[in-house]
């Protein structure tokens, strides 16, 4: 079909547009030229060496990991509550309450960051890794809630009743049936939240005080042309890491869907 192939060509071009910046990353990360331009010079791993030797970067990495792990665990726990409540129970004010929990998805991050910053400062709190965790948990929570709602939703409610009917208590039915079935969703939510937090700039920029995170460190280095090749190397590592994490997340999401026998309705969001 002519029409299908035209669309296909367009879609492939579009994919190229989406991936263009990411594809350039490794090219310049291994290019020995100090200026990011063509033609390329020679192959080098110097920038990666520089990256691993950078103490501030190591500190930023540690901070980012602490923040990402904490926020993803917290957001996923909160997401489990929200998903279970929204998929299983009817309660007054459900719509507005779920809307409020999902609001960070559409609220510009700058607003969240500024509002939180003003409150934290007026409460006299020092800005550090912990305050970033507060913010990141908030913005990861809706994603976690969405992923987990899908996981809980694809569960046939009679599975739980069957366990109950076969002599289990409410809690053991949850533990033996629900939890194993939503586990892929939980893992997927953890990885997704981790990726979001690791990559988040604005909130970290406003709430981290003097502590660097990976994105704020990168932002601070973008002004110095000398540092750009190293940032390219760092970017390459981060992109590879993100893709690996997302692939694992997607694998678990699909396995979860397959397990519960539901129809796969597509990717994230």
């Amino acid at each position: 079909m002519m029409k299908g192939s035209g669309l296909r060509a367009y879609a492939l071009l579009y994919l190229l547009f989406l991936y263009a910046p990411i594809l350039l990353l490794p090219i310049f990360a291994f290019n020995s030229g100090t200026v990011i331009s063509f033609p390329l010079k020679s192959f080098t791993t110097e920038w990666f060496g520089q990256m691993f030797g950078n103490a501030t970067l190591r500190r930023a990495l540690t901070n980012s990991l602490i923040i990402a792990v904490s926020s993803s665990v917290l957001a996923t726990c909160l997401g489990i509550f929200a998903a279970r409540a929204s998929t299983r129970f009817a309660f007054p004010g459900k719509g507005p309450i779920m809307g409020l929990i999902m609001l960070p998805l559409v609220l510009p991050e700058i607003i969240v960051a500024i509002a939180l910053l003003v409150v934290l400062l007026s409460l006299g709190m020092t800005l550090n890794v912990f305050t970033v965790i507060l913010g990141h948990t908030l913005i990861c929570m809706p994603y976690a809630a969405v992923i987990l709602s899908t996981a809980f939703n694809s569960l046939d409610r009679s599975l739980e009743e069957a366990a109950y009917d076969l002599g289990e208590t409410k809690w053991s039915a949850f533990r033996l049936v629900i939890l194993p079935l939503v586990m892929p969703g939980i893992i997927s939510s953890l990885l997704m939240s981790f990726t979001i937090s690791l990559d988040e700039f604005i909130i970290a920029f406003f709430l981290a005080g003097n502590e660097p995170t990976l994105p704020t460190y990168i932002f601070s280095q973008l002004r110095f042309p000398k540092q750009i090749p190293m940032i390219m190397a760092l970017g390459t590592v981060l992109v590879v890491l993100s893709i690996v994490l997302l692939t694992i997340a997607e694998y678990f999401r699909r396995r979860g869907v397959a397990r519960t026998g539901a129809k796969d309705t597509g990717g994230f969001l």
Binding site: S158, L159, A163, Y164, E168, L176, V177, L181
Partner: protein, 379 residues
Amino acid sequence: MTETRDNRPEAVTPMIECRGVHKYYGDYHALRGIDLTIRAGEFFSLLGPSGCGKTTLLRTIAGFEDISSGVVLVDGKDMAGVAANHRPTNMVFQSYAIFPHLTVAENVGFGLRRDPRGKAEKAAAVEEALAMVGLKGYGARASHALSGGQRQRVALARALILKPKVLLLDEPLSALDRKMREQMQVELIKLQRQVGITFVLVTHDQEEALVMSDRIAVMFEGGIAQLDGPEALYARPASRRVADFIGVMNFLPTRVVGDTPSGTEIEVPGFGRVEIPASNVSRANPDDDGPSIGFRPEAVSLVAPGAAGHSHVAEGVIDEVVYYGDMTYYDIRLDGSDGFGDKVRPVRIAMRNVFGREVQDVGARANVSWSPGSLVLFR
């Protein structure tokens, strides 16, 4: 209400008793005072259209729904405050609810977790239960790879392994295709006789209920309209509504002439004056279209004009012929319908297409043979 079948003494021990059971969802009155006794060891069906409360009733027996008022007894014990996991009932769910993360054997053995028996004994019990439902050797299979019929068998084995006093089946055959459904109907009957457990089946399929059940409760709008054995239900429906729901029934408007010592004398268009025995008179006629008689399409037959041996014959014209292969349906417009208004519809007659019998044409004259005993009067 008449109860005709299964009056053997050992069958009369009550297993489930519902007394004045009401259930409200907000303002919605889902169960309106259910009084019901299900006997030990019988195959009992709750039959009705969707939304009639049959599944709600089943789920109140299982313990998944609280009742708003009334009493539910299972094996003589009041079930108030007894949660589903402590009731002597087990359920086969409409979706089968096979745990997708467990193997067939793990599914079947799910309820044995708290059983004090050893591992080997439990495994033997699982194997035995699987053999009972014809799935011997399927234990190690992944449950999500099973076909619909196999999932149903796993669900049965999983419930029966716990040796419940009552097995509750919620539309268990509705997800199967026609062939499989008919096969499973027979298997379920055999299984029930083999294990001797009380089965309570919820279905909207009247044929399924008639085929499988010892007794059937027909439900409309949260109440029981009739409780009877299959034959009684089919031959003597208690109301026009029940008659309409179960199979096809012809209705003709009727004038009541008067009561006689043994029944009621009536006048029917085309049939003339008839005396209906008291056992075939139903006074529950909520539709209130005035009195009417009902009869099944197969209770009357088309006969050649002047054929001998037919004491009651009505005449008419063939209005419509519908050919089904093994059967032909004729719609006959009866003579002598004048004076009954325009409510008289053609009478449907089912004729088996035996060898040598010709299919009649539309517009031909026809004689209809009937017998007074097959008429039911609704007044």
